[in-house]
């Protein structure tokens, strides 16, 4: 266990959480994980967690203090826990996720619907005693959209009662955007209620690319689980895999060599540049600037070539391994990276010349979709989005890992919080990434690229949380092990889920056309949201 953990009984949860939030100023909910710890057994000690429960990871943005809270309920028939989404707005979607996967009802939650699976899905797939395939054949009927939701309340005698809440009134003008829409960047679906041209409210539907990765992990061995991280957020493939490797290494007590640390850092930064260039290209394309799209992809190919030479893959790279990296650097690597740096510097300037200063771009981006710093923290919107709102949330600075503690780079923070700030953060970060690479590329230490590992990797009992700064925010891995060769639970903190959670509040009162700019600059990747 790598941080202070509190076990709180479900009855006291609300009061304790309130105290943590208000007295200890734990204003950032890093991660919320549903758990099935099974039914109580004879040889359980006081410490053993049982039942269905939730793990919260909290952090204070003012003091930097971190804490982990666990709670659970033994009731498997009608499990319920109090909702914390009035304390942290960012808990709303993850609580719906937990309801969807484990069937835990959160009392007081304003919108207790399934998040990913279809409404007519039978059972809760993440419960250890559930076999989702058995009851859920492929349904080819169109899913019906329901306009109502329920709020649950615990009565004095311990039973649950529910009241209905309408999402959209009958006379509201609701249009459907997605799931197959070019501006949603993947298969995300919005239902937007409009007043004339202005957006009144947006209801987000996820799950069109829910691949059940976390559930699959529970039957894979540790080296096998690595392969799926690349496919979550494929533009942060390096970093996500890095996070999982670090988490497993930490659990095993393995320290990787300096060479591996530096290589991983350089690779992470190359990936970040790749992602930010793609962000630029796609945003421009969405806003009608096709030339800029071609420019972006032209430069991205240069990075992919470098990655391919060493790792063998262009997009899905499969490079990090537990205790090292897959292959040593290609002899051309250093030379080509050094050529890349001045090339990109020149071309980033070109991006600014053709797009940033463009009057149409400026008018569409400036002042639209403003996210305040408080909201960014409350929702947990990290990455470029948080930093554009003035929240210095970079994990590379907060909790330096790999070789980030020995390089000098600036954390880009803007305060406007609008689309333009989000756009500028990412373009400026490319320059910082180049600086990091520049400092490291000439002194990659010698050493082995792979620590010796046992043929079968088993982790000791316990739970761990590690985070890295992926291309679009804090990517966290929560791993719980029972000493087997596959994880008991492996949960990923999605970088994109908080970003879609803010869409509703960002678009209130905005024009429908602004949705494109807002969605584009939030820069989420849908498979990472749905996992």
């Amino acid at each position: 266990m790598n941080q202070e953990t509190l076990h709180i009984a479900s009855a006291e949860l609300l009061a304790k959480m309130k105290q943590l939030k208000e007295v200890e100023k734990m204003d950032y909910l890093r991660s919320l994980t549903g758990m099935d710890w099974g039914t109580p057994e004879e040889n359980d000690t006081q410490e053993t967690m049982r039942g269905l429960g939730v793990v919260y990871h909290l952090e204070s943005t003012s003091t930097g203090k971190r804490i982990c809270v666990k709670t659970s309920t033994l009731d498997r028939e009608h499990p319920h826990l109090p909702s914390v989404c009035h304390l942290w707005k960012g808990a709303e979607l993850p609580e719906r996720e937990v309801y969807d996967f484990f069937g835990i009802i959160f009392t007081g939650h304003p919108d207790m619907r399934r998040l990913f699976l279809r409404e007519d899905w039978v059972g809760f797939p993440f419960r250890k005693d559930n076999n989702p395939e058995a009851e859920n054949p492929l349904r080819m009927t169109n899913e019906e959209t329901i306009d109502t939701t329920y709020i649950y309340k615990e009565e004095a005698n311990g039973t649950l009662s529910r009241t209905e809440r309408k999402l959209f009134e009958d006379d509201e003008y609701v249009i459907n955007i997605g799931p197959q829409h070019p501006a949603t960047h993947g298969v995300l679906r919005f239902r937007a209620s409009l007043v004339g041209e202005e957006i009144n409210k947006i209801d987000v539907h996820c799950g069109y690319i829910h691949r059940g990765i976390e559930k699959m992990n529970e039957s894979l061995t540790y080296p096998q689980t690595l392969a799926l991280t690349d496919r979550l957020d494929y533009l942060s493939a390096m970093q996500s895999r890095h996070a999982l490797c670090m988490c497993i290494e930490q659990a095993m007590g393995v320290e990787v060599s300096d060479r591996v640390k530096v290589i991983r850092t350089i690779m992470d930064e190359l990936q970040r540049i790749d992602s930010h260039i793609l962000f630029f290209a796609c945003l421009c394309q969405d806003m009608g600037a096709t030339t800029a799209f071609l420019y972006g992809f032209r430069d991205r190919e240069k990075i992919l070539d470098i990655l391919e030479e060493t790792c063998g893959g262009r997009l899905i790279i499969n490079y990090n391994t537990i205790g090292g990296v897959q292959a040593d650097l290609h002899p051309n690597f250093v030379k080509r990276v050094k050529e890349l740096i001045p090339y990109l510097r020149k071309n980033i300037q070109e991006y600014h010349d053709i797009f940033t200063g463009n009057i149409i771009a400026q008018q569409r981006l400036k002042g639209t979709g403003v996210l305040s710093r408080e909201d960014a923290i409350a929702f947990g919107a990290t990455g470029g989005t948080g930093r554009a709102s003035g929240w210095a949330c970079d994990v590379r600075k907060r909790l330096p890992y790999a070789a980030y503690d020995r390089v000098d780079f600036k954390e880009i923070v803007y305060t406007e919080g609008d689309c333009f700030a989000r756009y500028m953060v990412r373009l400026d970060e490319i320059e910082q990434s180049l600086r990091i690479i520049e400092q490291l590329i000439d002194n990659i230490p010698e050493g082995s690229i792979q620590e010796k590992m046992k043929p079968i990797i088993r982790l000791p009992e316990g739970s761990w949380y590690t985070a890295v700064e992926s291309s679009r925010g804090e990517f966290g891995v929560y791993l719980e092990s029972r000493g087997d060769k596959s994880p008991y639970r492996l949960h990923y903190r999605s970088t994109g889920l908080p970003l879609v959670a803010v869409v509703d509040s960002l678009t209130r009162g905005a024009k429908i056309a602004d949705l494109i700019a807002i969605g584009g600059t939030l820069d989420y990747i849908v498979p990472d949201i749905d996992r």
Binding site: F116, L117, R118, P125, P132, E133, N136, L138, R139, M140, T141, N142, E143, P179, Q180, H181, P182, G186, V187, G207, Y208, I209, H210, R211, G212, I213, K215, M216, S219, A227, L228, R231, Y234, L235, L278, A281, C282, F293, L294, F297, R298, R300, E301, L304, R314, L315, I316, V526, P527
Partner: protein, 198 residues
Amino acid sequence: MEVTKKPKIKSIPYEEFKDNETLEQLVKQLNEGGTNVVVGVLDDLIDWGRSNSLWPLTFATSCCGIEFMAVCAARYDIARFGFEITRNSPRQADVILVSGTITHKMAPVLRRLYEQMADPKYVIAVGGCAVSGGPFRKSYHVVQGVDEILPVDVYIPGCPPRPEAFLYGMMQLQRKVKVEKFFGGVNKTKKEGKEEQA
């Protein structure tokens, strides 16, 4: 009239393509049906036009979609083959490139998109996920290959397929279009199950 169609792709000899047997079988079936001379010539002309302007639907659910974007961009440039006009509306598209994982929730939506496309229409399964479920074969929420829900014309394996593989798959589709009979059916009865392996 005997149809002796051997679809031509510029600069690549017929023999270098894999899985020519499927095409030959198609031609054989056409011959059994018999063709009128005038219609046959018109067919060729129309197929030539169709095969060089296949408009894909922009449909991407995950990783493979990013590679599709790379294929559309400057370096691989699908415009060389006449595929560059990606359509956002299924009603204007000729071919759907299913790039990415198809989940249970997405399956009915995909089916509806396909039904909205106008005939003649084609399906390419791009990447391991669309071919067979790929890395997510064991998942409870992933369709084990789009051929469970759509008739697939060409399969492009890979995770993700390289851009060159995309182009090869598209050329295979062109070849298929070239041997088809446009008047009277587009081999519609054959549009079921596995047909061609790229």
